[in-house]
């Protein structure tokens, strides 16, 4: 008789666990609207700098690039993406264009991403979960910065020399050990890329890090800064002209951009970043019947 009780007890014990149900959420109920993040009035927005570790052999990397493009579309002017092609054969071994560079290798050694694609947001938050990148950007775009950066490029086409001038304007007191880094990157490089659908021979590679204009980890700015203080600086480089052969074609100045970013020296946390075209795009003057700001 006791045996029957035992079995009944065991069955009830097991059955108790089965009482739990799961949540079934219909397709119509899967989206919860929330207000977009907004900055407090009179504050300076921090531009999100994303270092994206990617490579031509990495089949999931185009998905990562697409996700970052979505983020840039959703938050125009607030997200800067820099594509890192370090010397990791498994992911970046070139087909016919070598986009690897030593500066990307330095970043790879600093962050040691376990898998590609991998994004490092503002120098501190690292993620390989592509579908979480937009969430991460959303969480960061509402952060307040303590400075603005103005950058301008002076490019001499005759000798391919580029001079970048920048001005860092502090909008509040800052007591941190800060450094500034100046990078050059190139867009619209057409070349092969592995994808989940197989090889794509005419994939357009954008924002590829080409070089640093002021060393592996930039230049130190100091440790104490006052509200209203401005620090001016400059850096220069001669644009690579393709002397190493067809695997490394010359940089196209029209496709190049410069990224200037300030970061905390120890933690590498990005404080602010800005972007400038090497050859600034000339915006046509509005016509006599056209009001500034009119859009189709």
């Amino acid at each position: 008789m006791k045996s029957i009780y035992n079995i009944l007890f065991a069955a009830s014990l097991c059955g108790a666990g089965f009482l739990v149900s799961c949540d079934n959420i219909s397709e119509e109920d899967r989206y919860i609207p929330v207000d977009k993040p907004v900055l407090p009035p009179h504050s300076v927005a921090k531009t999100v700098l994303v270092q994206e570790f990617t490579g031509v052999q990495c089949v999931n990397c185009p998905t990562g690039a697409e996700e970052m493009h979505k983020a840039q579309e959703q938050y125009p002017g607030q997200v800067i993406v820099v594509g890192m092609h370090p010397y990791v054969d498994a992911y970046t071994k070139p087909f016919n264009i070598d986009m690897r560079c030593q500066e990307a290798e330095v970043m790879y050694e600093a962050y040691k991403p376990k898998a590609f694609p991998c994004a490092v947001f503002n120098g501190t938050t690292m993620s390989t979960s592509v579908n979480y990148w937009l969430t991460t950007v959303t969480n960061l775009v509402a952060e307040e910065a303590h400075m603005t950066i103005d950058a301008s490029c002076d490019y001499d086409e005759s000798n391919r020399n580029l001079k970048v001038d920048y001005a860092i304007n502090f909008t509040s007191d800052v007591n941190k050990d800060l450094s500034v880094m100046v990078w050059i990157m190139e867009n619209n490089i057409v070349g092969p890329q592995l994808t989940t659908n197989g090889p794509n021979p005419i994939y357009v590679h954008n924002h590829i890090l080409r070089a640093s204009l002021n060393g592996d980890w930039g230049q130190k700015l100091g440790t104490s800064f006052k509200n209203g203080q401005t620090i001016d600086g400059s850096a220069s480089i001669s644009l690579y002209n393709g002397e190493d052969g067809p695997l490394k074609p010359a940089w196209v100045a029209e496709n190049c951009q410069v990224v200037v970013w300030v970061f905390e020296t120890g933690s590498k946390a990005v404080e602010q970043a800005t972007l400038a075209d090497v050859i600034p795009v000339v915006t046509p003057e509005p016509g006599p019947d056209e009001e500034p700001g009119d859009e189709e």
Partner: protein
């Protein structure tokens, strides 16, 4: 409205409390569990007046005897495992620059201690991996006592409080385990109750939170498993040649709510407002069920198992809301000198973890279940070069294995007999219903994309064909010949590259030079036109019984011209084993049971020590 989790968890506990004194005394008797003590205890409740003192005296004598008896049965067991690497002169395959390690000496140390006594066992594990060996997930570094438990057993009951490992069935919905070579330890911290009430019935119920390196995930897990061995309940009907076991399991998971931004097409959102962001409405409760039947008939064994899981969106698979399922069929035959095995598995959306956001640095963590890899475990270095990792997003897997012993004194068996083994694996993806130009990786976040017809097989992920011949030629010499043909879809398993086709040849010999001296040697060759090209490898292992063993090995990659060598010495004394040496290890995947960890190239001095007591 989500049900209150406390209410759910309390239910099995209440049922358990109401039914406690049920097991019969004859079941699962433990050492020291004597009827005498029970009888004397009953006496104290009935005696009165002057009899009390003498009775008490009598009881204390018995209790003293029992105590002595109990104490004398207390046993402590344990194990120490420690491994050091002193990185030296590292030259990577990347730019040749020196990899910077966190410390000059890297070390993984584990110390397990268990104390067993009648009715109760307690145990703990000390782990020192503050500066671990290279390649472990980022969260792995740390030290402390992450595993501590106490188990009380009485008759047919067993209650564990603390950390524990558990598996329901084949592990399709629950398997927690430790695999040190991978850095996997997904023990559950909580409570577990087991009862074997007799009649071949075994029931387990558990609840807790799961370990993720040095943290415990915030998701709650709970579940129950029941298994009934009908051949135990109806012994006369089944006899000795037949057996039938049925089992069913349930695992529930309660996740905390999270804000995951929707990044898919806006036309899927009803009444879309462009001024808003949209977060996913995530299911907080996930349920998984498993049912299985095991049949034994003479030399045949069959297993059929089915599992299903409710919508469980996770970052790894585009926060997909599609339900998961898995089917596993296995048949084996084993008789003297011959065995055969055939099994098949189909799984879809069965990645089940106690954390939704799994990042690259935590990739092999938080597994609630385990999907076994249907491939042969390779022991030779080059044969293990391209190991397959289970694709829990969905796959079809088949495996067959046949072993035969040609008997002694037959033309093929010779003087000592000949063992041959032929095995093969075939693993493919599912044939998803995909829109033009899309792959299954293009699932829209928050959707039910993409379904796959059950019987259709998709593109090849992995295939191999293994042939092994083992032959003893004389009392002093035996050899093994091994051939492996392999197709490995690197783009699927490693997310880079393409299909790697390789042919691997291995020859191994064991020569007993003298009574206490034996030499083992291996010669291996891997041929492939893809990835890094051809490899050759060799190994010499000299055993000087009973204490010493010296191993020298080398692998050479002709594609890159890289050489990976290792010289190791091992000294064993009683339960102690001490290994030391110097070597350079190539980068690659280290896999166990279909779960893989990327190991970077390392070079340096190694020291390991193992001791059990």
């Amino acid at each position: 409205m989500q049900p209150n989790i406390k209410t759910r968890l309390s239910l099995p506990i209440l049922v358990a409390a109401a039914s406690l004194p049920l097991c019969s005394a004859a079941q699962d008797m433990l050492p020291g569990d004597t009827v005498t003590v029970t009888t004397k205890t009953n006496v104290t409740t009935t005696v009165s007046g002057s009899d009390v003192s003498s009775t008490t005296s009598n009881i204390s004598t018995v209790e003293s005897k029992k105590k002595n008896n109990w104490l004398s049965k207390v046993r402590a067991t344990g194990a120490i495992q420690t491994e050091f690497l002193i990185p030296y002169n590292f030259k990577g395959e990347r730019t040749g620059d020196k990899t910077v390690y966190e410390k000059d000496v890297l070390n993984n140390t584990y110390f397990d201690l268990t104390v067993n006594a009648p009715y109760i066992s307690i145990g703990a594990r000390f782990q020192w991996t503050k500066w671990p060996l290279p390649g472990y997930n980022k969260g792995f570094g740390g030290w402390g006592v992450p595993y501590i438990w106490a188990t009380g057993s009485y008759k047919c009951w067993q209650l564990t409080v603390g950390d524990f490992y558990e598996q329901f069935g084949s592990g399709l919905i629950l398997r927690t385990y430790q695999e040190r070579s991978l850095g996997v330890d997904n023990a559950i911290r909580g409570g577990r109750f087991k009862i074997n009430p007799g009649g071949g019935v075994h029931v387990t119920a558990l609840a807790g939170k799961q370990r993720r390196f040095w943290e415990w995930n915030s998701s709650w897990l709970w579940g129950a498993d029941a298994e009934w061995e009908l051949n135990d309940a109806f012994k006369e009907k089944f006899g000795n040649d037949y057996g039938l076991t049925i089992g069913a399991s349930y695992v529930g998971k309660h996740d905390p709510d999270e804000q995951i931004l929707y990044n898919g097409p806006t036309d899927l959102i009803p009444n879309y407002d462009p001024s808003k962001n949209y977060y996913l409405n995530l299911p907080l409760n996930v349920a998984a069920f498993d049912g299985r039947v095991k049949l034994r008939a003479h030399d045949f064994n069959f297993l059929a198992e089915f599992a299903t899981k409710s919508a469980d969106p996770v970052s790894l698979y585009n926060y997909n809301y599609r339900k998961g399922n898995a089917v596993l069929l296995s048949g084996t035959y084993s008789n003297k000198g011959f065995s055969a095995m055939l099994q098949a598995k189909r799984s879809e959306n069965m990645d089940f973890r106690s954390k939704r956001l799994i990042d690259g640095d935590y990739l092999i963590s938080s597994f609630v279940n385990h999907m076994p890899a249907f491939t042969m475990t390779q022991t030779y270095a080059l044969a293990a070069m391209y190991p397959y990792a289970t694709q829990s997003e969905g796959e079809w897997a088949f495996q067959a294995d046949v072993r035969y012993l040609f008997k002694k004194k037959t033309p093929l068996g010779g003087k000592y007999g000949t063992n041959v083994r032929l095995s093969a694996s075939y693993i493919s993806g599912l044939d998803y219903n995909l829109p033009p130009g899309k792959t299954y990786k293009d699932k829209v976040v928050g959707s039910n994309d993409f379904g796959a017809p059950f019987w259709k097989i998709g593109s090849l992920y992995y295939a191999d064909l293994n042939f092994e011949l083992n032959k003893k030629l004389s009392r002093k010499f035996q050899f093994t010949l091994f051939y492996l043909f392999q197709k490995y879809n690197q783009a699927i398993v490693e997310q880079h590259g393409g299909m790697v086709t390789s042919n691997i040849f291995v020859g191994e010999g064991q020569w007993k030079i003298a009574k206490k001296t034996q030499l083992r040697f291996e010669a291996q060759y891997l041929h492939t036109k893809q990835d890094k090209g051809d490899w050759i490898a060799g190994l010499l292992e000299l055993s000087l019984a009973p204490h010493w063993m010296i191993t020298v090995s080398d692998s050479y990659n002709s594609g890159k011209g890289n050489n990976y060598y290792e010289v190791l010495g091992t000294y064993a004394y009683k339960a102690n084993r001490f290994t030391f040496g110097y070597g350079k290890v190539k980068e690659g995947f280290n896999c166990s049971g279909g779960v893989c960890r990327w190991v970077p190239q390392t070079e340096g001095f190694k020291v390991t020590y193992n001791y059990t007591f």
